[in-house]
């Protein structure tokens, strides 16, 4: 590609590739800055996959999701931890400086925002819809189009057939189909970016329970797959192992300085470094640089369930460990005030993580877990971002921005969470599943559903236009989660991608 590019995209995660695809297709010259490189998930003996070549993943998972101690997660998030300079207080700053960003380790759970959830947005569901459809078709989504969750998950794009349901999830949904409907609660098949039919170079899921350790077939969508496709285009270039450290406006556009001291220029800049990464890059451009910025997240809770009918049953020999079922429970009549969640089976998840949380010795914990496992599942529930109350303070120095994040929840949230848990426990009971003690709210940020930093449509200097253009810096568009004006309880990744696609199309049109 001949220099200079028309557009520089900072970040190779789901947002970056989603913005780049329509631009590249429209013939624009796009230069993507990628903090990672062409590392591939290595194949090898199971223990290498699960514990790492140097056994680096052999460590307790610190009470969080077992996913984050996997070698793949460490490859994905390690460099970000070293670089990010974030001081955390009751908060876990999740980010990636690896090709593909957090999509390398995401859960693949997708759903569109409905009109209610978009009510505080400066854009309508109709405006987003073509982008949702483009993204769903590009990444490959499997699920059911005609159950009670189908409507809230949306109908954009073409759905692939869902993979076979796990036995415990099947037992729950069979009861649900037979029970009278609760107007506040809906349950259906989960919708996952998991392909059940080959798509390009990606192979359909073969149900080997390898999800947690990095799917060797590429059946779970991962932005690296799109980066590989983009690289085949002549008008796309990738700058690997380059981390943007400074953005500056020049007469003819924007200049990005990388860690290696390279200066790259383009008329327009698309920032897709992930919410925390973009926060750090963009905040110094606002005049005067803000001492605080808003940050939303989606408080998340896990709820272990046991389905007595399944006790003594067989563990499934095949399957996946992504979400089996999706559900939604309304909290209040306010628009978008509902919790969303997913039900996972425990086959394919590490038993040690469960046994460690049981109030028994290790041997008893393992044996009891094994005896219960065929009947166990875990529900995760996400609350809307309005219930988060985080404080971000920024200090500017020679070494860049120092970010301090204090995580928290809004007043009254604890009572709400208790009520929701009680209501859900009652609902599960009707569906033949019993909530075990030990439901716990995760530390803020664990959800990785961050946003609300540079809200679309906000008039303040840190706000952005409806196309993500920073009010304080024309020509700079932010396309990742940081521009979402609200964080819905519905998983945000698909929406981030659709929004980035929408902004990319807009920029492709205006040249």
């Amino acid at each position: 590609m001949s220099e200079p590019a028309d557009v520089i995209v900072i970040g190779s995660g789901p947002a970056g590739v989603s913005a780049a695809v329509p631009l590249v297709e429209a013939g624009r010259r796009v230069l993507m800055i990628d903090g990672g490189d062409d590392d591939v998930t290595p194949a090898g003996a199971p223990w290498r996959q699960m514990l790492g070549d140097d056994l680096e993943a052999l460590r307790p998972d610190d009470g969080l999701t077992p996913k984050w101690r996997t070698p793949e997660a460490r490859r994905t998030m390690g460099a970000f931890k070293r670089y990010s300079a974030i001081d955390e207080e009751d908060f876990l700053g999740v980010g990636a400086l690896a090709r593909g960003g957090l999509s390398r380790i995401w859960g693949g759970f997708v759903g569109e925002l409905d009109a209610e959830e978009l009510s505080d947005w400066p854009i309508t569901a109709a405006e987003l819809r073509p982008s949702y459809a483009a993204v769903v078709d590009r990444i490959g989504v499997s699920g059911s189009g005609d159950d009670d969750m189908a409507e809230s998950y949306g109908a954009a794009g073409t759905l692939l057939a869902p993979p076979p349901l796990g036995p415990t999830a099947a037992a729950i949904i069979a009861r649900y189909a037979a029970a009278p409907r609760d107007p506040d609660f809906a349950l259906g098949r989960a919708r996952n970016a998991l392909i059940t039919a080959d798509l390009g170079a990606r192979r359909a899921c073969d149900l080997r329970f390898a999800c947690l350790w990095g799917c060797p077939r590429g059946a779970i969508y991962d932005a690296r797959q799109d980066v590989a496709l983009l690289r085949q285009r002549a008008n796309f270039a990738l700058r690997e192992r380059a981390t943007a450290v400074r953005l500056a406006r020049r007469d003819d556009g924007w200049e990005v300085t990388t860690t290696h001291g390279h200066r790259l220029r383009a008329a327009r800049l698309i920032v897709a470094a992930g919410t925390l990464g973009s926060l750090r890059l963009v905040a110094p451009l606002i005049d005067p640089p803000p001492a605080t910025l808003p940050l939303l997240n989606s408080p998340v809770m896990a709820m272990p369930l046991v389905v007595p009918r399944r006790l003594g049953g067989k563990m499934p020999a095949h399957g996946h460990s992504l979400a089996q079922l999706g559900f939604r429970l309304r909290c209040s009549a306010a628009p978008g005030d509902h919790v969303s969640g997913a039900v996972y089976e425990v086959a394919g998840l590490p038993a040690s993580s469960f046994a460690a949380r049981m109030p028994f010795g290790r041997r008893a914990g393992t044996e009891i877990f094994r005896a219960l496992a065929p009947a166990l599942s875990v529900a995760t529930l996400y609350f809307p971002g309005r219930y988060s109350a985080n404080t971000v303070s920024l200090r500017y120095g020679d070494g860049g921005v120092r970010i301090h994040v204090r995580g928290g929840v809004a007043d009254g949230f604890d009572a709400l969470a208790r009520t929701v848990r009680r209501r859900l426990a009652r609902i599960w009971r009707r569906l033949g599943a019993f909530a075990l003690p030990g439901a716990a709210l995760a530390i803020a940020g664990t959800d990785a559903h961050l946003g609300g930093v540079f809200p679309l449509g906000a008039a303040a200097p840190h706000g952005t236009s409806r196309f993500g253009e920073l009010n304080a810096a024309p020509g700079l568009h932010i396309v990742d989660g940081s521009v979402l004006p609200t964080i819905a309880s519905t998983f945000t990744t698909l929406t981030i991608m659709a929004n980035a696609d929408r902004i990319g199309r807009h920029l492709a049109g205006i040249g």
Binding site: L51, P60, D62, G361, A371
Partner: protein, 414 residues
Amino acid sequence: MPQRLVVTGASGYIGARLVERARRSGCEVVALGSRPAASDVPSIPWRLGEPPPLTVFADATAVVHLAHDWSSDRANGAGPGNANLEGAEALARAAREAGVARFVFASTTSARREALNAYGKVKIAIEERLKALPGSEGRIICARIGLVYGGPERAMYGQMSKLAGLPVLPMIGLDREVQPIHVDEVCDGLLALALDPPAGRHTVVVAGPVPVTFGNWLRTLRRARHGRRLRLIPVPIGFALMACDLSKAIPFVPTVGRERVLGLAGAAPMASAADLAALGLHLRDPARTLQATPVARRRLIAECRAMLRYVTGTRLRSPGAVIRLARVVQRDPASGRALPGLAVRWPALLRLLEPVRPDMQHGLSRRLHLAAMVAEVLPPPSQPDRAWWRTIASQLVLEGLALPFRLFLGSLAA
């Protein structure tokens, strides 16, 4: 042409190791006197005090004189009749006459005139005699070697290893400072002195740069080998000497020579950092190095096997899993004290030892968690034949039975 070394005492603790390392680095070695066992090193019969055959020195670059006649110390003390004195001097003279460029004498950090034992007195006397030889400048080097550990459990190291195996050890000189150095580091130092010595040094201290008390050294040995604490009881030297004599009479107790006890009582540290730097030696941390000794390794493997057996409830047929766990436990700074021997033999006893309140950051809970993680990488165990509720009920009963003991242990720890 390869450099040629003449080594005396080549079958000894240091000598055998030195020969091996010298040959690996491309030197030719001739053993003067006894030959290291199971080695094809050419050797020439000789005893300390005899005139050496001059042919042995042909084309030799250096002589490394390690041999020491302990019987002569016992018979003659540090007096002039000691064969070590004459022997060393005669050897040095012969080497010079044959045109050997360097003569390295293995001395000790306890070499001083006021030493309590004959060994220290003899070594200093040899040093002085060698120094007085004509043309000794730049040709004769005395290496004052510290407390040598590592490698095969022989000599002083062998004795200390045995002592550290006892649960309670009455010992003298616990607050004396010693300067541990690994046998391989000593060999590297001696080789450097023989082949490419730093200029202008007549004596060189080849010993640990940071002295540790003898008591702490024994504790380090015990922790590394047995993973436990060592209870030391300080003993006045008179009693110790009596005990030495008694130990010869009592079966199954390691015997300890008076000489060694007196050597300990008389040692004092010598500055070694500058000499080590001149020799290009960077010493390893003894505590960490000792962890890799075969005995410590065997204990670790046995513990890891026991923990895996406990968490899985089956005898694992995967040596790989045991080795992986050992690798992680060994390098994990938070993994804590060793398991009791009984629990290693009967892993089910670990149920009694687990803390009631698990702490993933420390100790046994953490190691068992690591073991569980290692185990789950293996193919899953076949589904139990027992009904699920029987499994749960029996585990709950066992947990209930173990709980009082675990609470008791927890209160002890607190």
